[in-house]
């Protein structure tokens, strides 16, 4: 069965003031696949990720041109509603960022924004999301505990549950395990793989093994451009570009 493109990026450029951070990005992200963005620090992969939910809008000096289509809808067009875009395109950040509220309130935060008021329904969403994020068994007896008391790995899974609670179709992950230990990292990776069933995932990672382990497609960013993109198996075993090979074998980075 042919899978559909979920995200189509067409000649996308982004400038911070006079600095061009992204150059002529063309990229297809396939539905219900995991796409990894790799590349050295400052290559633009996080900036690109934040373009997909328009989080760069927050920065005054950012200008962008080109087209990003998600589900065939142009996200930078005037008719695009940022709130519903961000509901559809969830994001998990590098450093776990639970809100200083209870576990329950963290997960219910998103649904509450989107006008879910009924307590029973909220309870259901909270449980479902925490289960999907593989955190339920660890916290179910203590939902009113502060999220700040959880371990780093638990906090990150809570942040994932918080995103899942608004039922996104796309999940953006910005180095979600770089602040975590190997065991917590493995749990998150297992989780990412299981979420693939229902979600399209784009993950930025500095960890080459992680990209190789979890992703279907990998895009290699360098100096604001996509230097090479291809199936992960192929890109990691026989990259076309010499610089891709140098990077994944650790010659620079």
């Amino acid at each position: 069965m042919q899978k559909l493109p979920k995200i189509q990026v067409d000649n996308f450029n982004l400038h911070y003031g006079n600095f061009q951070a992204l150059k002529n990005i063309d990229l297809y992200v396939t539905e219900k696949e995991i796409t990894a963005l790799i590349g050295p620090s400052g290559c633009g992969k996080s900036t690109f990720l934040r373009s997909l939910n328009r989080l760069n809008d927050l920065i005054d000096s950012v200008r962008c041109e080109g087209k990003i289509m998600i589900d065939n809808q142009e996200i930078y067009s005037k008719s695009c509603d940022v709130v519903s875009l961000r509901k559809k395109v969830g994001m998990v950040f590098q450093k776990p960022n639970p809100f200083p509220k209870t576990i329950y309130e963290n997960v219910a935060y998103g649904p509450r924004i989107h006008k879910v008021r009924d307590r029973k329904k909220l309870d259901m969403i909270v449980e479902k999301s925490l289960r999907e994020a593989a955190l339920w068994d660890e916290v179910k007896d203590d939902l009113n505990r502060s999220a700040m008391r959880l371990s780093g790995g638990q906090q990150q899974r809570l942040c994932i549950a918080r995103v899942l609670a608004v039922e996104p179709a796309v999940l953006l992950m910005d180095e979600p395990t770089s602040a975590l230990d190997p065991i917590a990292t493995q749990k998150i990776e297992d989780l990412i793989r299981s979420l693939k069933k229902s979600l399209t995932i784009v993950i930025v990672t500095h960890n080459m093994q992680q990209a190789a382990r979890v992703s279907d497609t990998t895009a290699f960013f360098l100096h604001g451009e996509v230097l090479e993109v291809g199936s992960t198996a192929v890109l990691f075993t026989s990259p076309k570009e010499r610089r891709t090979e140098d990077y994944i074998t650790g010659k620079f980075g």
Binding site: P100, T102, A147, C159, V166
Partner: protein, 288 residues
């Protein structure tokens, strides 16, 4: 002193001793002032002193009208200063662009904190008493003191908002929250301890001020209690000023002046203490 100690004495031990001495000096000064006031004033503190008006040309009786007046004025000050300062800080930190204009505005607000309180008083006379025809009243005095609290409230609230990690804002926005929703449900609750501290410190400073209320509504002596916000009033700091310098029998009423000082200092310290307790409480609540 061995070789190691001697080597470290100038670069390490000396500055440390100096810093500690400075701290002790400040601490002793505060303790001494406190001790002096309490020693000389505690004798007159009684149930009557707190609950009765002055009698016999203010040579006897209590200071109840001044306590009440200060409470009334502080209430108006809080009503005027807290919301304005709070919203101004939110605007400055969350919405205003960082450019030359907002830098100038920020600088001006910080400088307002250094404006002599008498200047606030004159400004209050011009604006509230005359231009807006509020007369010499609790309202005029309260609003004038409200202005005085603004720099403190805005500056501390802005610092508190600034210390809220951007990750909280982005986390909420990434879930589809509007900017105001994220500020209301996430940023403000996190900054609340700091904001509250600033508000109370601003108020406690205003409570102790004399100059801004001198021409805007405080009275030397009133036979009756104020009945509405356009009445004149007696206030603790002004009463203290009168008892200490303006009274026809200054020597005779000195204990009463010290007693007034004890009450005023207690009120201000109680407010500061409340700020500390509330801040600690909310910090703990946030940390969980």
């Amino acid at each position: 002193m061995n070789e190691q100690d001697r080597k470290l004495f100038l670069p390490e031990t000396m500055p440390f001793i100096l810093l500690r001495l400075t701290m002790i000096l400040v601490f002793l000064a505060v303790v001494y002032i406190f001790y002096d006031i309490v020693k000389k004033g505690f004798g007159v503190i009684s149930f009557e002193f707190i609950t009765a008006p002055p009698r016999s040309g203010m040579t006897a009786g209590g200071i109840m009208p001044a306590i009440l007046g200060t409470i009334y004025v502080t209430f108006i000050t809080a009503l005027a200063g807290m919301p304005v300062g709070f919203f101004a800080a939110i605007y400055l930190n969350e919405y205003a662009k960082r450019n030359l204009l907002t830098r100038i505005i920020r600088l001006s607000i910080r400088n307002l904190a250094g404006v002599p309180s008498m200047v606030y008083g004159m400004f209050g006379v011009a604006l509230f008493v005359h231009s807006l025809s509020f007369g010499t009243s609790i309202l005029s005095a309260g609003l004038t003191l409200g202005l005085l609290t603004l720099p403190v409230i805005i500056t501390t609230a802005e610092e508190a908002l600034k210390s809220v990690p951007d990750a909280y804002r982005e986390g909420a926005l990434a879930l589809g929250a509007s900017k105001w929703h994220s500020i209301r449900t996430n940023v403000i609750p996190s900054a609340f301890p700091g904001i509250l501290t600033g508000m109370i410190l601003g108020l406690s400073r205003a409570t102790g001020e004399t100059a801004p209320i001198l021409f805007t509504g405080a009275a030397f002596f009133l036979p009756r209690l104020p009945t509405s916000i356009d009445s004149q009033f007696m206030a603790l700091p002004y009463h203290l000023f009168i008892m200490a310098t303006q009274h026809h029998a200054v020597e005779k009423v000195r204990p009463l002046a010290y007693g007034t000082a004890v009450v005023l200092v207690t009120v201000v310290l109680a407010m500061n203490f409340a700020a500390i307790v509330l801040r600690a409480y909310y910090r703990r609540k946030l940390r969980g």
